[in-house]
Amino acid sequence: MGDAVAAAPGTGRRDIGAVLWPLAGFALILLVWETAPRLGLVRPTSIPPASAVFGEMAVILRDSDFWQQTASSSGRWVIGFVIAIAIGVPIGIAMGRSRLAYHAIDPLLTVTYPTPKAALILILVLMFGAGNVSRITIIVLGCLIPITVSAYHGASGIEPKLLWSAQAMGLGKVRTLVRVVLPASLPQVLSGLRIGIAISVFALIASELLIRQSGIGAYLFTFYDLGATLKVWATASIIAIIGFLLDSAFVALTRLSFRWLEGEV
């Protein structure tokens, strides 16, 4: 029936299927990407065929300028992300454990939530110039709320019994925080961080597409300005892969570091 419900007997056959079909899926997409432009189904000047894009990607990866820009982007991103964690996680946990903190900060979150933070970049540029400060700030603003909210969910959802056990064992407030609250909140916090990565990378690229001073977004936009379609697609693909790799790396890292976590991040 092909339904999710029925389990297929015969484990051997099933394992091959689990590898074969994903490959078939990718192959299909690549096939369409390759043939549609060549057949003229889409304008090859707008979407170059896959092989051409891959070839160009190799060229770009050999461009030292690309690596330079990537390095400056990465630096900004790391700083911004770390700051967001340093601010968001403690606040979120405080909100989860303290009524006062919750009521003080939640209104702030609900008001600022609907604003697309990346839109504020231009205002920040007016305030702080087009340098790193404004760009790092945007990255921080972009992912601060999801990280904070996840930390809040993690900290507020702790089983009371865990905390009672800590009390019974005579753990003081600080110890309880470190030994019980932090680990118990970890799954949610990690989920929030994972989303934060995606959002912050978005904010980074978006800000660099807007203020085209340096960075990988600026690098991309230059090609657009020049009308170099092939390079635009190639760079965009590289950025996409970087985004994917960052995410995979994060998942792998958390799995290795926190093997005791049940389930998945």
């Binding site: 092909g2 339904d3 999710a4 419900v5 074969l20 079909w21 994903p22 899926g25 707008s46 979407i47 209104p107 979150l109 008001v111 939530y113 609907p114 604003t115 697309p116 839109a119 504020l120 231009l122 205002i123 540029v125 007016l126 305030m127 999801p146 909210v149 996840s150 809040y152 969910h153 949610q188 989920s191 929030g192 994972r194 989303i195 990565i197 995606a198 990378v201 978005f202 980074l204 690229i205 978006a206 597409l209 807007l210 977004g217 991309l220 657009y224 009308g227 379609t229 635009v232 965009a236 950025i239 996409a240 892969i241 985004g243 994917f244 995410d247 998942v251 389930g263 998945e264 991040v265």
Partner: protein
């Protein structure tokens, strides 16, 4: 509240949905005593505080009135724009694009999500692809989209669609794959044909999850359209902001931000109201 769990058995399990923003749903004692107007007051209080802080910053001279004009000044600019109709026009331009992008994302996201959630072959073929694209910054593809679709609405809608479709798709496939078997068996018991089972059983059963994804998708659509207009555009709120930036008219910039935030807030509220109605049968949805 969206619980953040990963969908099972993928090499890189994509997150199901980002945690929803905190809405004050906790039954604190004082809240229970409030009625109608009082409730609105509570909701507006944070906005009042923000504006108050804003005004304080300006009055105290902590920020230059150029980079952060006083609230009153921004209000004046907004009113002027309303008077000559530009605000309505640009707002509608952006809003219509958002609605189109989101609607497309819902249709595609739900259909593909149900297929991925319930048909094993489909899931094996396409879930890895979805998992690949989910964490990528879709905005990186925006210049390519402009080359493809031109400077007009299509590229903005495409970016909004790209940002919105993934959370919807993932939430739908997760919900569709976790339906209680006995509900489906009941439909099978009655010999329900497969297609009708999809529309009369799978879809309603998955609806709570779908709605969570759709809510997040709404945010994505707004961000996608607005950023698209901002980066390369000729009309809409994003473009207004970019143009104002180039002319160093900060008042207009703040108006644009305020309006898009308002759009975000309003659409979210409308969505929640629709969700309450559509999910009135669900025990978990608060009413």
């Amino acid at each position: 509240m969206a619980s953040v769990q990963a969908t099972p058995t993928a090499e890189v399990p994509p997150p199901q949905a980002p945690p929803s923003p905190i809405t004050p749903r906790r039954n604190t004692g004082p809240r229970k005593l409030l009625t109608g107007l009082g409730w609105i007051a509570i909701r507006l209080y944070p906005v009042v505080v923000i504006i108050g802080l804003w005004q304080a910053l300006v009055s105290l001279g902590l920020v230059s009135p150029f980079t952060m004009p006083a609230p009153a000044r921004v209000w004046d600019v907004a009113v002027a724009q309303l008077r000559d109709g530009t605000l309505q026009r640009t707002t509608w331009t952006t809003l219509s694009r958002i609605i189109v992008a989101w609607s497309l994302a819902v249709v595609v996201g739900v259909v593909v999500g149900i297929l991925i959630g319930r048909v094993q072959t489909f899931r094996r073929m396409f879930r890895p692809i979805v998992a690949f694209f989910f964490p990528t910054p879709k905005v990186a593809i925006y210049p390519a989209l402009v080359i493809l679709f031109g400077l007009g609405a299509a590229s903005k809608i495409a970016l909004g669609f790209a940002e919105a479709v993934f959370p919807i798709l993932l939430a739908t496939s997760a919900a569709a794959s976790q339906i209680d078997s006995r509900l489906l068996w009941t439909a099978d018991n009655f010999e329900t044909p497969r297609l009708r089972k999809m529309s009369t059983v799978v879809l309603p059963a998955a609806l709570p999850g779908v709605m969570t994804g759709a809510r997040i998708g709404l945010v994505g659509a707004i961000i996608g359209v607005f950023m698209g207009e901002l980066i390369v555009g000729s009309d809409g709120l994003g473009h207004t902001m970019a143009a104002a930036y180039r002319r160093l008219q900060t008042g207009d910039m703040y108006v644009a931000v305020a309006v898009v935030s308002l759009i975000g807030f309003t659409l979210d509220r409308l969505f929640l109201a629709a969700r309450r109605r559509l999910l009135r049968w669900s025990p978990e949805v608060d009413h």
